[in-house]
Each structure stands twice: as C-alpha cells, then as structure tokens.
C-alpha cells in the first residue's frame, strides 16, 4: 500500500530500547483464526498501534481459518517465550490446552471472542446481544413491525450463539415479523459465497415485497448480501448487520445502498483495548476477567453527504473510535514516557 | 502355432501364422519389416490374443491370456523394444527378478538374496561385470538386453524368444550372445530367433521359418538351404529388381559437413552429398544415425564443426532455420515425429509451409485443398479423401504423406531416417521410386537405415556409422552386406582376418 497524502506517520516511539520502564520492550503474540477482510486488517492495526505505543513488538500468527494450525501457532508462541498472547476467535476445544500451558508459564493471555474458559484469562467480548437487539429494533421500526426477513447466521462461534439468542427472543416477541429463509457459512471466502447464496434467495423471491429485510449476524455476510441486492437492482430490501469495518462503512454510504444500519465496536478499538488488558496483566494488575465492549449503533441516516471513513466517524456517531477502556494509570504513564 | 490371425483395427498384421518349435532347437524366424514376426511372437508370449488359430504346447492346446500365464508355462520373450520391459528407476537386480514380485510368496524382500540371485544369473551370461545395484537407466542398450535374458534364465524358461537381439550389439557382444544361446540349447531350452542378418541366422539356427505379409511362407532346414533361397522366399522378385537399378550422379557438391561433433553421441563427422546423389548412412541401432539426422536438421545442437548447404553456411538453432536453408527431414518415428495422425491429410500436407496457403493471417482453405489433392495424385496416395484423418491410412501411405508434406517447399536436400520401417512391400517400392524421383530432380538425399540390403540397393554411396563416427565409405560397387556389417559393428577388415585366423587354430 502506498503512503496516503497527508498521512501522519504513526508517532515514532522514542527510546523504547533505552527506556527504564519495565513495561517497555515486551513481546506480544497475536494468534488469529482468520485474517481475511478489512475487519481483521483494521483489528491488527489497532493491536500494532497500541503495542508500538507501549514500546513493544507484535508477532502475528495467521492460521488461514485452520484451528489445528491455530493451536500449533499458540504452541509456537509459547515456546518463543512471549510476554503476552492475544487470541482472536477460535474455539475452546482447540485452544484450552494451549492457553492452560501459557498461564502455567506466566504468560498473560487475553482472548477476544474465543470462547476460551480458563482461569486467569481476560476474555473480551462485544456486547453481542445488545448489538443484535439494537439492529433488530431498528429493523422493526423501519418495517413498522411487520415483514418477511432473511437471516444470515452461522453456528459454531460463541459470539454468533449470543447473537442468535437475542434474535430468537426478538422473533418470539414480534409475531408480525417472519423468517422466510436462513442460511450462512463461514468459509475461506465468506463474502463471495454469501453473495452467491443471496442471489439464489433473490431469485426465489422475485417480487417486490417478498423480502422486507435481511438481518446479517456478521458484516462479511452483510457485504455479500448487499452486493447481491445492489446488483439485482432491487430497492425494496434493506440490510441490517452486526460488526462494521471501514469497507462496510463505505458501502453503507453508497447512494441508494440497501444497508440501513449496523451495530459494532470499532475494530481498531478492539485491538487497542485487548493490548491494554494484556499489559495490565503483565504489570501484575488484576483486571476483571470478563470484559464487555460497548457497542455503537451506526445509522445510515446519520451519516453526512460526503463520504467519511471510520477515522472520522466519531464526528458523526457518538463514542466511535474513542474508547478509553482498559487504560490503567501505569499504562498511561508508560505511554507518556515513550512519547 | 497354426492358423494364427490378428488384426489391429483396420490393419491386418497376421493372416496365417504357422510355427513349429521342437525342444532344444534354435529356430529362426525371418521376414521383411512388418511381415508380422513380432506380432506372432507377442501372441505366443501372451501380450496379444489371436483372433483365430490355436497354440499347442507339449501336445495340449493352450489359451494364453496374459504374459503372466505364458511365463508360468515357461515361455519368455526378449522383446525387440527392450525399454518396454525395463523399469528404469529400479536396480539391475530388481529388474532381473521383476517377475517374482507379482507372484504370491514372502511379504518381505531381502535385498541381499535379491542381489545374490541376480548376480548368479548375470554370471551365467558372462556379464558379472554389471553392478546389480545400479539403477537400470544407467545401462546401455546391450546391457539392458542381457538383463532381459537373465530374467528368463532366473525362471528356468523352457522357451525363449529373441526378437532381433543383435540389432544393437557389436560383433563381440553378438558372439557372446550366441554362446549363451548354445548353452541354452544344450540345456534343452527351445529358442526362437528373429533377425534380419542372414549370416548369423545361418550360423546359429537349426531351422528357418520365413514369413511374408502376415503369413508363414516356408520352413527350411538350415543345413539344406541357401541365403538366396531364403531371401527369395522373404521378399519376392519385384522388390529385388527395384533395388538393383543404378543411378548416375553429378559431382557438384550440395551439402558439406566438416568435423561435426556434439559432446555426446557424434564424433568428428565429415562427408559430402552431391546434387542428385543418394547417400546411404548405415549403422546398428544406437549407432547415432537418428542423432546425426536431427543434428543436421537443427533439432539437436552440435558444438564443433560446420555445415554448408549449396555453399552457404547453415547454422540451425532450430528446425525452422534448417527448413529455411532448404532441408527436409522425414523422421524415423513417423507417427510420433512426422505426422499429426489425428488430423486430415490436407492439414498435414500444408503444415510446413503455412505461409503459402494463407492470406495475411487467415488460412486459404481452397488453396490447401488443391495442394493436398495434387500430392495425393502425384504420390499415388491411397485415401478416401483429403479430409480423412491419417490414422485411417496404411503405414506406407502415411509415409508418403510424411514425404509429400515437404513438396510445397522446394527443399534442396532430403534426410530420410528409416523411411521403410514398418511399411509393406508395395509401398516400399513406391517410396524407393519417390526417393529416386526426388534425386533425379537434382536434389540431394541422405538415406539413414540399418537395413543393409536396402541401403545397398538404393544408395549411390554408402557411409558406415559406428558409435557416432563414420568409420568407412563404400561406393555402390564395393559394398557388400558382410563388409558393411563388419564395419558397422566396430571391426575392420584386417582385424577380421586375424580373428578368422585365431579361430582356425
């Protein structure tokens, strides 16, 4: 990628090596299950930025969606003697063993959306139920409480299960809203596969009004669905989703985009917050072990005429990208000392 | 074997194959190329099944469905194409013991035992110098053949078929082979011996059976017949007449080759070809004839020496350069190298000179058709139409197409590599006529072949090749089959005298 115009170089960290702060020069490993799509890329950026600000180094372990490789990567990170391990997605069956080993060795572990259940691990999760409720409420409001909806969802991931709970409750409480189709699969190429499937659904329900809205439990799903709808030329279907990367934001801002709303935590923020909790653990602090990240609701109607990126989103959507979650006094001092 | 018939698609290989072999006898099987010798033997060794006729072994009618079955009955074959029966990656020992692996028996294999048994077999053949542990692809053609014979020995065969075993062998190697065959005979093993070399047939065989055009013509007792009788039975009269016509040549030099060497097969080759002359190049299989033809044609590269055509130096990096300079090659492996057998005659005929049959980028299909029709007529090619794929043509007619495709180019020199291989007698005559006609127009011809009698018949001058060198030049008048064979297997006349002398003591 090229250097953007007027891009401010990330503030170079001075003197990390000479710094006397015991927290500088830490090695952090980031173990990811899947690393495709803009969400992941932004999340990695958040991690890198925050670790750099703390004077440490990050190693990213990619697993191509392969859980066995993810478990091996976790082992490799432990063997390399890193100070902290950040985990992004994965399942408890695959990871618990490795995480236990890491805790035994005194490595700080912070997991995001991973379903890991081990004593001493800080677990971050997005307010999944809350996000689902926010978007579903908006859907109901736009549809006046009645309509046929398509659900795109996949089982097998802890956050997805939580979103499903909220969705099931919502359907029960709103008999006017019916699910006419449900599908979804997390593949190596989720957005494109979803697009193909959505095209199938659209052909199945070719008439205006057959489908009121699509609810996508993950932004990769939403992307595929939105593209399929846009290309079919249908204007009667709206899309509501959870999670939002910058790419999604651009699509939401397209003229006549069917994408009506999303609820999400800024992916960059997730990365930053995860690093902060890891450093708290390194520093011997005792943070809560179950952290819920506050979701933000992004309404397409609130966005300005000209396009903005997630970097500027905070000007229009309250609370976006400005989270201070996870800072402790020691960390603030560390960051100050390295500037 | 009696009344054996075999067809391959539209080709009839055998019409009436008859053959009787007695225990402990060496029985030679003779016949021109394509007479059906190999096919008959492949039927006997279970590779092909006959369409009709029966095989009687030890008084019982047998039905040979596979080589395995034939081997169980003690019938082994040393194939003409040795490479079909050798596994190059495996060691010499493994290749010798190859047939044991498919038989039920021990699950595990001991290498030590394997090597020991293989060595024993090789020693029997007086070839103990071949290391049994080296992979088979390192061997020479002659050594590979020994492996196949050793394979038959290991299994105490009752009947061994030798299909042209001496073609790649030098005189010394042949002598050794003959003593092995004699040993076998003394052990009551029946041997069938196929060869084109009459002197050695007369030296080794007890009886001779001759085949022509898929049928057995006659069986002689070796001691009661002469070479001429056999040849007559093999070839028929017309063919011989055709070959004895002599042709006058001019002396203006067309092609001049000086000191040609590659680092591999060819060594210091020099010769000339005059306008209107047919020069024969003769040598054993593997002598380097094909190599030489392909090197002249730019398919292989040489690193020393020079080639002049019509006074101009030819430096062909690719056959396209050679074609531009005025050469044409009719390669040995017609189906593999010379023709596109699944394409039509028309497509084949125009291919070397597409420019002539196209307008700008686009093909001119009418001109193509006209040309194809013209060569069908002038070369008397028998075909349904010019759109018929070549697979449906007979070998001889295919060969005519392989020659005819150069007719649009006005080449100055034609290289024929074994142009009569697998071609029936009638077509052979046509092809010889064609070569004559080409030379009569003032073009030069180089005729590469291992068929000594054919070479003698067609050539104005004969070059003998041995091991990548030209070892002797004969004029048409001086050449005899014996002298040529002697030089072709690395001997010289003086040496030969001495050897004869030694023998008599």
């Amino acid at each position: 990628q090229p250097k953007g115009e007027g891009s401010a170089e990330a503030t170079p960290v001075k003197n990390a090596e000479e710094s006397e702060n015991p927290l500088a020069n830490k090695k952090v490993a980031l173990i990811m299950q899947q690393n495709l799509g803009t969400f992941s890329a932004q999340y990695i950026e958040g991690v890198k930025e925050q670790v750099a600000a703390f004077g440490g180094t990050v190693t990213v372990f990619a697993s191509e969606g392969d859980l066995a490789k993810m478990a091996s990567n976790l082992d490799a990170a432990i063997n390399q003697g890193v100070d902290a391990i950040l985990i992004d997605h994965g399942t408890k069956e695959a990871l618990n063993q490795g995480v236990e080993k890491a805790i035994e060795k005194g490595i700080s572990v912070v997991a995001f959306d991973a379903g890991v259940e081990v004593e001493g691990v800080v677990v971050l999760e997005q307010g999944d139920q809350q996000m689902a409720e926010m978007t579903l409420e908006k859907l109901k409001e736009d549809a006046n409480g009645e309509g046929n909806i398509v659900k795109i969802w996949v089982a097998g991931f802890a956050p997805m299960e939580r979103r499903q709970v909220a969705y099931a409750d919502f359907l029960k409480e709103n008999p006017g809203i019916k699910e006419i189709a449900a599908f979804g699969a997390a593949t190596a190429n989720t957005a494109l596969d979803t697009q193909a499937q959505m095209e199938v659904i659209l052909k199945q329900y070719p008439n205006e009004g057959d489908i009121t809205a699509v609810w996508a439990a993950w932004d990769e799903f939403a992307k595929g669905a939105v593209r399929a709808i846009e290309q079919s030329g249908r204007t009667d279907i709206k899309v509501y989703s959870i999670d939002m990367s910058d790419e999604d934001l651009q699509m939401i801002q397209n003229e006549n985009s069917p994408w009506a709303a999303s609820a999400a935590v800024d992916p960059t923020d997730i990365g930053r917050i995860q690093v902060r909790y890891a450093y708290q653990k390194i520093n011997g602090e005792k943070p809560e072990e179950h952290i819920v990240l506050e979701p933000i609701f992004v309404d397409a109607a609130k966005l300005p005429e000209n396009k903005v990126t997630t970097n500027e989103l905070h000007e229009f959507i309250d609370g976006w990208g400005a989270s201070d979650q996870g800072y402790s006094k020691a960390l603030k001092e560390l960051e100050e000392s390295l500037k | 074997m009696s009344g054996i018939q075999k067809q391959f698609g539209k080709v009839t290989a055998l019409t009436k194959g008859e053959f009787v072999l007695e225990r402990g006898e060496v029985h030679a099987l003779l016949g021109a190329n394509g007479a059906g010798k190999s096919t008959l033997m492949k039927i006997l060794s279970g590779v092909y099944q006959q369409d009709d006729g029966e095989i009687i072994l030890n008084g019982k009618t047998v039905n040979l469905r596979s080589p395995k079955q034939a081997k169980e009955l003690g019938i082994y074959c040393v194939y003409q194409e040795v490479d079909t029966a050798i596994v190059p990656e495996l060691s010499v020992a493994e290749n010798i013991m190859l047939d044991t692996f498919s038989k039920p028996g021990n699950i595990f294999i001991s290498n030590k035992k394997l090597y020991a048994e293989a060595s024993k077999a090789l020693q029997q053949l007086k070839a103990g110098n071949i290391s049994v542990q080296q992979p088979a692809f390192m061997l020479t053609l002659a050594e590979k053949q020994l492996i196949l014979i050793a394979r038959a020995l290991v299994h105490s065969a009752k009947l061994i078929i030798f299909d042209e075993p001496t073609a790649p062998l030098s005189v010394q190697e042949s002598t050794r082979l003959f003593s092995v065959i004699n040993d076998l005979k003394n052990n009551n093993v029946g041997c069938i011996y196929i060869s084109h070399r009459l002197p050695e047939v007369f030296e080794i065989s007890d009886r001779i059976t001759v085949m022509r055009e898929g049928a057995t013509t006659q069986t002689f007792k070796t001691t009661e017949t002469t070479e001429n009788q056999v040849i007559e039975s093999m070839l028929g009269e017309t063919f011989r007449n055709e070959l004895t016509k002599i042709h006058k040549s001019t002396s203006e030099i067309l092609l001049e080759v000086n000191g040609l060497s590659d680092n591999n097969k060819l060594h210091d080759i020099s010769f000339t070809v005059s306008k209107g002359e047919i020069v024969g190049v003769v040598g054993l299989v593997g002598a380097g004839k094909t190599e030489l033809a392909k090197t002249l044609f730019g398919y292989n590269q040489f690193n020393k020496g020079s080639i002049y055509l019509d006074g101009k130096r030819v430096q062909a990096k690719h056959p396209s350069d050679a074609i531009k300079a005025g050469m044409a090659l009719i390669p040995e492996e017609r189906r593999k190298e010379g023709l596109f057998v699944h394409e039509s005659l028309q497509t084949n005929a125009t291919f070397p000179n597409l420019r002539k049959f196209s307008h700008r980028f686009f093909m001119n299909k009418r001109a193509e058709k006209e040309f194809a029709k013209s060569i069908v007529k002038s070369l008397q090619i028998k075909t349904g139409s010019v759109d018929t794929p070549l697979v449906h043509l007979s070998g001889g007619n295919q060969q005519k197409v392989a020659i005819g495709k150069w007719m649009s180019l006005d080449s100055k020199i034609y290289l024929f590599d074994e142009p009569t291989k697998g071609v029936d007698i009638g077509a052979k005559v046509d092809i010889f006529k064609l070569i004559r006609e080409i030379s009569e127009k003032g073009n030069g011809c180089l005729y590469f072949s291992c068929e000594v009698h054919e070479i003698i018949g067609i050539s104005d001058r004969i070059l003998v090749m041995y091991d990548g060198r030209i070892v002797k030049e004969f004029s048409h008048e001086d050449a005899t089959e014996e002298k040529i064979l002697l030089y072709a297997s690395g001997g010289t006349e003086e040496q030969n005298e001495r050897q004869k002398y030694k023998h008599s003591i």
Binding site: Q1, P2, K3, G4, E5, S7, A8, E9, A10, L36, G37, T38, A41, I44, F183, A185, A188, N189, A191, L192, D193, A196, V200, K203, Q204, P206, Q231, D246, E247, Q250, K307, T309, T310, N311 | G9, F297, Y299, H318, P319, A322, I323, K324, P331, K336, E337, L339, F340, V341, H342, E343, T347, F351, P352, L354, S358, F361, F362, M363, V391, K405
Partner: protein, 330 residues
Amino acid sequence: MKDKSINILFKYGTIVLMIAIIIYFSFISDAFLTYNNFSDILRSISIVTLLALGVTFTLVVNGFDLSVGSTMSLSTVITASLMVWYDLPLWLVLILPILVGVLVGMFNTLLIVVIGIPDLLATLSTMYIVAGLHRTYTEGYSIYNNMPLVSGGTAPGELSQAFLWIGQGKMLGLPVPVWIMLVMVFLTYLVLNHTRWGRVLYMTGGNAEAATLSGVNVKKVKFSAYVISGVFASMAGILFTARVGSGQIDAGAPLLMEAVAAVFVGYSVLGAGKPNAIGTFFGAAVIGILLNGLTILNLPYYAFDIIKGAVLVSALAVTYVHAKNRFSAG
C-alpha cells in the same frame, strides 16, 4: 453399437442437454424463459467465459493453466488499487493489469518450458504463489473507494463511472460484459479456427514433436498460449472489479473449477473433439443455465459444488472415453 452411441453423445450431448434443461426449467417456472433472465444468465457467465477462453488456449497447446483463478484475483486488486490508491487515468488502469497477466504467463512459461515442470504442477504452484502475492500486495485488505490507508490518511481515488460502466452498463439492450464476452469468443474463434497461428497452436498441441520437426518453435508457441491465458485472466479480473465496484481479495479462486468445466464440456460441442472457442462458450452457458435453473428448483447452495463437479466429471468422461474409442479405431 456402444461406440456409436458414445459418438452421438459426444457430438450432440452438450446441445441436447442444454435444450433439455431449458425446456425442463421453462415448464417449472415462468420466470425462466424471459429475455431478462437470459440476459442475466449471459452476464453471470461473462467472467467465467473469459477465464475459460484463456484455459482453452493453454489446452489447445496441450498445456493446462490452473493459475487463472489467482491471476484474476491479482488483477482484480491491482485494477482497484490503481484507481483507489494511485488515482491513475483509465487507460493505465486497463493496461497495467493486463501487463501483470502477461508476467504471470511468462512465469508459467519459465517453469514449464525452460525448467520442464509438467504443466499442471507448474501452474498449481503459480496459483499458490500468485494468491500469496495478491494478498501481500493489499496486505489483506479489500480495496474500495476512499479506503483509509495503513499509513494513515485516506486513499485519494475512487472507481470512476466510466470504469464501472464496463461491468454494470448496458449497450443496445445487452449488458456491456455480455458484449465483451461475445466479442472475445468471436475473436478467439477467428484466431483458433481461421488463422495461420491458430493452426500452429492446434498442431503444437496435437503433436509437439512433429510440430518442431516441421519448423515450429514449440517453446514460443507455448509461451504465447500461457501469456494469452494470463491476459484473459486479467481481463476477467478487470471485469470483476467493474462489476462489483471494489477490489475483493480471492475473487478468482472459486471460478477456476467452473472455467475448467466449461472448457471440457465445450470440448465436444458439434464434435470438435478438441478445445475450441464456441464450445467453451456453450460449456459456460450450459453450466450457467443449469445453475440458474437449479436455484429455481430451490437446491441448497452447498449442493451446487457437487453438481458442478458432476458436470465436470461427465464432460471429462465423455471426452476421454471418446478419445479412447477414436484411438483404438484408428
């Protein structure tokens, strides 16, 4: 008897199959046999057809290009990046990805012709390497209008309307991608069937050895086929970007099988018995129509892979059984 029926199957199988599918589906759904649906089907196969044309060229010379999918992915992200990151003029945006396709073709040629790795293995490796390259190039991001850059700031450019017209516009009642496809099919047909060079390509594929001895530089011919394949893959990538309006990662990978299947289904159209442009187009159309119809039948999406695979296997089976028979008859 059996041979004859295989021969007929071979010659008219594809076309009969296509007609049967069309008749069947038009009974089932009124929406099927409409101008709009067919123009949609044509548009949906346009990208695959371009890829398949490239594969056709490599098959004609008896090679095989498995790297077209990756090459298309690479071209997709490069096309988008040229506009989004570097804000280059349209003509450069159209030319540079094509050059990248040429490079991939040259790399394939290097492996196959110079080093001597068998075609399928060589292009399989290239497939992986190019897939890695295209991810490295974007650092894992998809490329879209005004995206923020890793180094800070936002990207200067966006996909222009003129560019998007290539993928989304209409001309004389047909979508632009359909026009592009038809033109390319026709050009390929012309080149392969009616030019000198087409003849050389087919002959090289039929018997490389004989072609060499007839004065054809087989290496150059193979080179040209692989380069053309790369160029077609790049064009498919450009078309994909214009169609989707952004540079998605891994866009081409799923299309590889469809493209290969199209070529093999097309092998036999009207008894050509060899890879050919019209056949490839029909092959892509049969698959496109089949998939369109199957969605009407309401088959789950994951079953589609099985059906695509089955179509590929049937096409291969008919092709090779026919080849066997023809050979043994000769």
